[in-house]
Symmetry: C2
Amino acid sequence: MKVRVLIRLKPGILDVQGAAVLRALAGLGFADARELRVGKLIDIEVDAATPAAAQQRVDEMCRKLLANTILEDYTIEAVEAGRLAPRQAVR
Amino acid sequence: MKVRVLIRLKPGILDVQGAAVLRALAGLGFADARELRVGKLIDIEVDAATPAAAQQRVDEMCRKLLANTILEDYTIEAVEAGRLAPRQAVR
C-alpha cells in the first residue's frame, strides 16, 4: 500500500528556508511568487491489508518518528497504485 | 493561485536519508514499512490569471531554482482554494 506523507511547519512557525527561497526567486525575476513554504514529502510503501490500516500505521510512524508534532503538521494521503512516482513527473 | 510542488530524487538515485529513516522505523518496530523515500514539498502562492498560467510559471521556477533536474524529478499540482494548509492536517 502506497502512502504519501506531507509534513509542513505549523502556520505560526517562521519558515526561514521558505523565506530564503522566496527572496532568491524574487532575485531571479519571479516577483509573482507571493508566498512560499518548504516542507517534507515522504513516500512510504507499507504492508497492510486495507488502505485504512496503512494510513493508521503511517500515522503512528509520523507521531513516533517522521514528524515533530510540536513544530509540524502532517497530512497522510493514499496514493493509487503507480502514482507514488507519478508518470506526469518531469524527468 | 496556490500550487504545490513535489520534488523527489529520480528513481535511480540512492536516497540515503530515506534509507536511514527506514532503518530507524525498523528499529522502532515498524517492520511493515517496506520502502521509503524522502523528498521536498513546496507550497507556493503565485499571482496568475489562470491555473494553467500559474503552473507554467512554477514550472519555470522549478527549472531555474527549486529543483535540481539532474538528480530530481518534480511534479506540480494545483491546489483548490484553502487546501494549501489542509484542514484535515493533524495539529
